[in-house]
């Protein structure tokens, strides 16, 4: 009965929620989209997801050993990264390339910068961007879904690519269900919204970022004279807004910061989609805003009672 009065730093109260439970919730929320991807793109979608998850977990396990850090492979965060990376890849991607993307995501972005909670950008998105820079032709090898569920489906352009060339080949219903070429997990909007609703109900994410992000894209594309509904329903916008932009380590804490961050994501996405040379800009938009999060946090810090707001982002000493 010694030391009953323990002096420790905050936090003193703990909700009891562990990283593992949160990641399990995210995985449950991702599962409808995973099922949809297998239904749409066939067995190879499941294989790509498996390869990404396995190589992410192996990278996490091995880097914790090499870096002599506590083993974090059990908290399932590597599984979430693997599933999200697989959702960003076309179904035809060679397995070894998917593995290289997973290693880049976990080893370079996550572990080299300090492990979970210390990654400065979303690991899965960097995995995708590394792969886009490394294997441009394989990463743009889209197939039409429901083509006998085989690998050698009909190669075709994504809705955003065809829209950039001034034609619209898909109805709203097709876009909602996901019957259109695209990355594994981005096509079935209904499944993604289902997962997002689950996360909001379970209070894993706040709805601020997805709603403001998608709303900004809707309004800006409407102002720009494009079809806003098609912009929202195609590309990786819903996947990015619900699952990628809401990553705890790389998004602001306050609601005010979240709104600024989400508007920035939406603005960059629309700028890249309409004026950029790429048809899709969600991943670059989120990564750029990830890097700006420390500045947003500083500008939106809550004010202690009686203090004056200083409008400088860089605080003077």
């Amino acid at each position: 009965m010694e030391n009953r009065l323990v002096v420790s730093s905050s936090p003193h109260l703990h909700s009891g929620v562990s990283t593992r439970e949160i990641m399990l919730d995210v995985l449950i929320a991702l599962s409808p989209a995973a099922v949809a991807s297998v239904l749409l793109f066939g067995w190879r979608a499941a294989a790509v997801i498996l390869v990404c998850v396995a190589s992410c977990m192996a990278s996490e396990y091995l880097s914790a050993i090499v870096l002599k850090r506590p083993q974090t492979v059990g908290d399932l965060s590597a599984v979430v990264t693997g599933v999200l990376l697989a959702f960003n890849l076309p179904a035809t991607i060679p397995f070894w390339q998917a593995a290289i993307g997973s290693v880049a995501a976990i080893v370079v972005v996550k572990q080299m910068f300090g492990g979970i909670g210390h990654n400065f950008v979303n690991p899965a998105l960097i995995g995708r961007i590394v792969m886009m820079a490394s294997f441009p032709s394989d990463m743009n090898n889209w197939v039409t879904p429901l083509q006998g569920r085989m690998v050698d489906g009909l190669a075709s352009a994504t809705p955003l690519e065809s829209m950039a060339q001034g034609e619209m080949a898909y109805s709203y219903q097709q876009l909602l269900v996901g019957i259109r070429p695209g990355s594994l997990g981005e096509t079935c909007i209904i499944a993604l919204l289902l997962g997002g609703a689950y996360l909001v109900v379970r209070r894993v994410i706040s709805p601020a970022i997805p709603l403001v992000y998608i709303g900004t894209v809707f309004i800006l594309t409407w102002i720009a004279g494009e079809n806003p509904l098609i912009h929202v329903l195609s590309g990786g916008l819903v996947l990015g807004a619900v699952f990628m932009a809401t990553d705890y380590a790389t998004s602001p804490i306050n609601t005010a910061g979240k709104v600024v961050y989400a508007i920035g994501c939406g603005l960059l996405t629309v700028l890249i989609r309409i004026y950029g040379s790429l048809a899709e800009g969600v991943s670059f938009a989120i990564v750029i805003m990830n890097v700006l999060v420390p500045l947003i946090e500083r500008a939106t810090r809550p004010l202690p009672f009686g203090e004056e707001r200083r409008f400088a982002i860089w605080q003077k000493k």
């Binding site: 290289i100 370079v108 590394v130 820079a133 490394s134 294997f135 441009p136």
Partner: protein, 249 residues
């Protein structure tokens, strides 16, 4: 007159101990820009080595003539002269290398390594030592560039010296782009520091000859402060440490 051992020391220090790129981290701009292929690295290294040796010799010869106040413009004029010679020679005889290196060939003029050696070594030492210093630094620079170019060309393009045509492996294009350049550069610095640590443990002295005191950050560096403190206090910290332990108990 300097002894043979001194000559040898001035030559070999540039290879690992004071390797300009991997240990001193100078001249990183051309390093990252041109090392997309082995041949470019080799060409850049050779051109820089030529300018480095020649400017070191000339600056060493003129070291008693150049007034201290205008030494930097004087050094730059000498370096720019030799860079122009190299540029014209490469343009005339190796047009392929010239188009691959582009603006980075004339930019040898402002390469930190060359001005650094002029300021830190050639302006204070004899001609022979300066020439060997330039040769060693140039060799270290070239070796680092060839190594980086080799890794990036092999992984990013699947070839080595442009061979074979189809590529040995499936290219991972990011390695010939700038992110891959930074990544390989960081990895090589890490490996070199690991190698230097290993050698030091075996009793081979690898610490930079100029020492930490020459570093611009010396005033605010913990390592320097702890070293000078330890020297000044001698054995005292031990006895005061014992006293503290007793009082706590």
């Amino acid at each position: 007159m300097a002894t043979a051992a001194e000559y040898k020391k001035e030559f070999t220090k540039g290879l690992l101990r004071e390797n300009p790129i991997l240990r001193l981290v100078l001249g990183t701009c051309p390093t990252l820009a041109v090392t997309t292929a082995v041949m470019n690295g080799l060409g850049m290294g050779a051109a820089t080595t030529f300018v480095l040796v020649c400017s070191n010799i000339v600056i060493s010869l003129l070291r008693k003539v150049i007034p201290d106040k205008v030494r930097l413009p004087a050094f730059i004029v000498v370096i720019a002269g030799f860079t122009t010679i190299v540029e014209m020679l490469v343009k005339a005889y190796l047009p392929a290398i010239d188009s691959a290196l582009g603006i980075y060939l004339p930019l040898i003029t402002v390469n930190c390594i060359i001005l650094g050696r002029a300021e830190a070594f050639a302006s204070k030492n004899s001609v022979g030592l300066s020439a060997l210093d330039g040769l060693g630094m140039g060799a270290g620079f070239t070796a680092a560039l060839v190594l980086m170019g080799g890794i990036r060309e092999l992984l990013g393009n699947g070839t080595l010296f442009g061979w074979p045509d189809g590529g040995l492996i499936h290219p991972i294009t990011i390695f010939v782009l700038s992110p891959g350049g930074f990544f390989v550069f960081g990895m090589l610095i890490w490996l070199t520091n690991r190698l230097a640590d290993r050698l030091e443990k075996k009793g081979i002295k690898v610490e930079t000859a100029a020492g930490c005191a020459a570093c611009p950050n010396a005033a605010c560096c913990n390592v320097v402060a702890s070293k000078t403190e330890a020297k000044a206090e001698g054995n005292e910290p031990e006895s005061s440490g014992n006293g503290k332990v007793e009082s706590v108990e």
